[in-house]
Each structure stands twice: as structure tokens, then as C-alpha cells.
């Protein structure tokens, strides 16, 4: 059954990058299969929530609010609601998947294997991005029932979607590394992510805010992502695009580096 000579030949023939590619594909496949299998828990809730947002804020209240930055209110909130779903799902996919693997100890399958840390991280982040983007598409489809879909700049739209999903997938990973119980994986989404997202300009333009709230809002990184995405879809933004991409990329680099250092030190996963 086990043939060392053959096995050595197999290892020698498969070059390092090919092995990395196979390991990465395995991780991504595992993650996508996981969230697809439980789609009622992973994909459906965002569709329902955003439908309610569109009905309540778009149809029932929106007409009374009037136009925002020259747009109908329901059109204005579409980008924020899409990105909010992307953020929440990219984050929660990684935090729940990685924490479960710690809790049930099947993270050991990866730790005993020759998969380098950066491939482990890339695999989990890609899984989070995949779920974030899938839910993003679902929300866009839901939005199409309430308002006309608009696309101002495809490349900006796709790039900011991808970067945002990556950033929050990394955030979910760090949360999972430090989590010691299932309660710990809901603290950050409840007490940090949700407030930052709601205060990040999903439902309003920061031009409406009085000082110092307008300036304080600039410290919220989610504001930059929502505005860049709104530009991609609708062509309007409160923030210069360059700054939005710079800040998002800087956060990705910082969290990515920190995540790798956690893996290297075995924090939360090795004794």
C-alpha cells in the first residue's frame, strides 16, 4: 500500500508550486462546498435582510427622505447594502470555519501537512471572498427587483468588492485565531463591524453630518470602501478613490502580515 520509492518519486516530480496550487485548490473547494451545503444558513439570510432593507428604507421611508447626492434614496443605499453583505459574509465565513476547525481539532489535518502558512491563509481568505462575492451577487439580484441596476465603472466595482472581501476575510481569520469559544466569534461582528458598517455611509452621505461627526467618520475605514463601491456602481462618492484604495490595501497588507505572524507563532493552534 505504502511504497516509499514511488512516494519519493511523486514528491520529487511534483514541483513545489504545483503542490501549493493543489493544496490551495483543496482548501478553497472545501470552503466553497461548506458554505454551499448550508446555503440556508449562509446565503439566504442576507437576501432576506436586504429585501427588508429595500422594502422599509427604500420603498416605505425612502420616498419621504428624498434624493441623496442627486440620486433616489433607494438607488443610493444599494451599494452600501451590497457591500455590507459582502463584509459580513466574508468575515463570518472565515471566523466560523477556522474556529470550527480549531474547536474540533481538524485544523491538525493542515498543521501536519507540508502546506506553508501563506497557503493556509490564502485558502481561508479565498473561501471568505468566495462567500462574500456570492452573497454580494445575491443582494444585487434582490436589488434589481426594487430598482434599476446601474454600473458606472466595472473595474472599480470589481476591485473594491474583491479588496473589501479580502480585508474582512482576514479580519475573520484573526478573530478565529484568538477565539476561545463560539461566543468569541460573534463579539467583533456585533460590537465592531455592525456599528462601523452602519456609520460608514450605507444609509447617508457624510456631507449630511455636522462637525465633528463628519471628520470623525473619516477614521472609519468602511466609509472609504462603501464610497468607492458607490462610485463603481453609481458614479458618486464622498471620498477620493485613490485614498479609498490606498487605505483598503494598507489594511489588507497589515492584517495579512499579522495573520501570518500568528500562524508562524502557532497562536491559538499549537501548544
Amino acid at each position: 500500500m505504502s511504497q516509499p520509492a514511488e512516494q519519493q518519486a511523486t514528491l520529487g516530480a511534483a514541483n513545489r508550486w504545483r503542490r501549493y496550487g493543489i493544496a490551495f485548490a483543496t482548501l478553497v473547494n472545501k470552503e466553497v462546498t461548506r458554505f454551499s451545503r448550508i446555503w440556508v444558513q449562509t446565503l439566504l439570510p442576507s437576501a432576506i435582510t436586504t429585501t427588508l432593507y429595500f422594502v422599509i428604507f427604500g420603498r416605505l421611508i425612502g420616498d419621504r427622505i428624498g434624493p441623496m447626492e442627486g440620486l433616489a434614496y433607494i438607488d443610493f443605499i444599494v451599494p452600501g447594502l451590497v457591500l455590507m453583505a459582502v463584509i459580513t459574509n466574508a468575515y463570518s465565513n472565515v471566523v466560523s470555519s477556522f474556529y470550527s476547525s480549531k474547536f474540533s481539532r481538524y485544523i491538525e489535518e493542515l498543521l501536519v501537512s507540508p502546506v506553508p502558512n501563506w497557503v493556509i491563509l490564502a485558502g481561508y481568505v479565498a473561501g471568505g471572498v468566495a462567500r462574500g462575492l456570492t452573497v454580494g451577487i445575491v443582494v444585487i439580484v434582490v436589488a434589481a427587483f426594487f430598482t434599476e441596476f446601474r454600473l458606472h465603472d466595472l473595474s472599480v466595482t470589481l476591485l473594491i468588492l474583491l479588496l473589501t472581501a479580502m480585508l474582512f476575510a482576514l479580519g475573520g481569520f484573526i478573530n478565529a485565531v484568538y477565539a476561545n469559544s463560539f461566543d468569541d466569534i460573534s463579539i467583533v461582528p456585533t460590537f465592531v463591524l455592525a456599528p462601523l458598517t452602519y456609520l460608514g455611509g450605507v444609509f447617508y452621505s457624510i456631507d449630511l453630518l455636522p462637525q465633528p461627526w463628519q471628520t470623525l467618520s473619516l477614521a472609519n475605514p468602511i466609509l472609504y470602501m462603501i464610497n468607492a463601491f458607490r462610485y463603481g456602481l453609481l458614479g458618486v462618492t464622498d471620498i477620493p478613490l485613490g485614498i479609498a484604495f490606498l487605505i483598503t490595501s494598507a489594511f489588507i497588507l497589515a492584517l495579512g502580515y499579522y495573520s501570518l505572524s500568528l500562524l508562524r507563532r502557532g497562536v491559538g493552534i499549537k501548544q
Binding site: M1, R19, R105, P116
Partner: protein, 308 residues
Amino acid sequence: MSALSVQNLSKTYANGLTALTGVDLEVEAGDFFALLGPNGAGKSTLIGIVTSLVRKSSGRVQIFGHDLDDEPEAARASIGVVPQEFNFNLFLPVIEVVLNQAGYFGVPRREARDRAELLLRKLDLWERRHTEMRLLSGGMKRRLMIARALIHRPRLVILDEPTAGVDIEIRHAMWGFMREINAEGTTIILTTHYLEEAESLCRHLAIIDQGRIQARSDIATLLGELHTETFVLNLKAPAEALPPLPGFVLEPIDASTLEVQVSREQTINGLFEALSRHGIEVTSLRNKQNRLEKLFLDRVEARREAAA
């Protein structure tokens, strides 16, 4: 060539517990090696470090010449591990568990499917390949852990209590399978509390206690160190009074059962001859205690007395 070379390995946990102190260990390629020790002796820590699940405090570990610090990928690629406790995603089907593990080791999916079929058929799990892990019996899970450990065809397999909680029939089937992969050239390191398992399967062993290797030998030499063996004899007819047998220590258990201590200088033939002379016929005999078990307990006891 050494399959595993451990030099001066120490581990102190964050809570201050020192689990290993200057452990040196060599396991030759192709060996079937037993790592024995009482609970808390340091076995799991040692295996944890070798399999990259526990961080060492100091020392070096090499697997087939690949240093775990300098060439971690090459070192890990050579190892397959069957852990003591189940560590599965319980919601995955059997086949996915094995295929995912193959993927982590860089085995292409198509090749992995072929290997998985071979292994799962061999371990009698193929018919359950689409069953979720949580629905498997304990014995099936144990066998699946072996399949998972072998899917990338490792040169060194570490089996940490692989037959714990497994019924006798499955245990014997697993022994046969382990012998087979060892005969094909795979080095096996086995930890077990069933010492008859170690005596039956392994060629060399090390006894670890209190974080140190206390003995390392081939099993035949070690068993040769036994000064006495105790046998339980079942007698054909009840013996009313036991005759004195010079050189043997006899102790009645009941009228038809006798316990006899035989020293290394004596033989079983001599015992039977002496009993026959007194008209005592024996229908069957067995070791009171597994030989390795006795040796193991003697060693651990002696070490503890010396330490006290």
C-alpha cells in the same frame, strides 16, 4: 538511515510543566518501533513535536534527514499521523476527509481518488465513502484515520493508540494491515497501552517516563532481561496438596488452578516433568501477565523508587 532522529529535545509548557527533558531517540528506516510509557510520561508531547502540532522548547528533530526547523515541508511530507483522538470535520463524508488530506499533501485529485479507493477498500470503508463522519462507528473512525494518514504514502507513519476502543476482530485486522505496510518499507512508530500489541508487532521499543527515555532496545533483548515469568496452569484433576518443587515457586489459586513462577534458569519442560512425577497433569497454561507488560511495570516502578 534514520527515519526519525531526535536530539536533546525539551519541552516546557506555558504553565511551567516540563513534559520532555533532553530526549534523544533514533528510529531506523523500515523499523516497527514501539514508544511506551505511562500516562503523562511525555509520549504525546514527543509525537506532537515530531508532527508539528506542539512547539518544542529546544532540541532538534529530523525526519529522514530533513530538519523540522530548516526544511519543514520536506520533513512533514514524509510523515503520516494517526492521532489518539478523533480530529475530523464530523459533517464531511468519508471520501472528502481522505481527498482533502491528499490535497494538502499535493496529491492531484484524480490520483487521490484512485489511492482513496484502494485504501478505503482495504480498510473496509469503501461502501461508507459517502457517509458523514458523525454517523460512523468508533472502529470505522479509527480505520479512516489510518486511511487518511496513508493517502500521501508517507515513509514514516506515527500511530498514537490506533486500536484504542476497537473490538478484537477489527484490532487484529488493523494489526495485519500495519504489518503489511511495514513489510512494504514504511517505518512505523506505535504508541499503545496494549503491550501485547507492541510485543506482537514491534521490533524495537523505547520506554519514556517523566519526560526522559528510560530504555531503548530491541524487544527480544529486553524480554531476555526478565528474571522470572509467572504462568497460570489449569490442572486435569484437583490437587489436594502441592508438592515442593525445587527451583519453582508454586501458589494455588483454587483446587484446579495453579500459579507457578519460573526463573530464567528453569524450563517449562522441567516444570512439567516435576509435576508429572507427582501425578499432576496440566491441561493448559497461560502467562499470568504479558511479558512486556511485566518488564514495563518493573522498569517504571524501579525508576520511581530510585527517584523517591
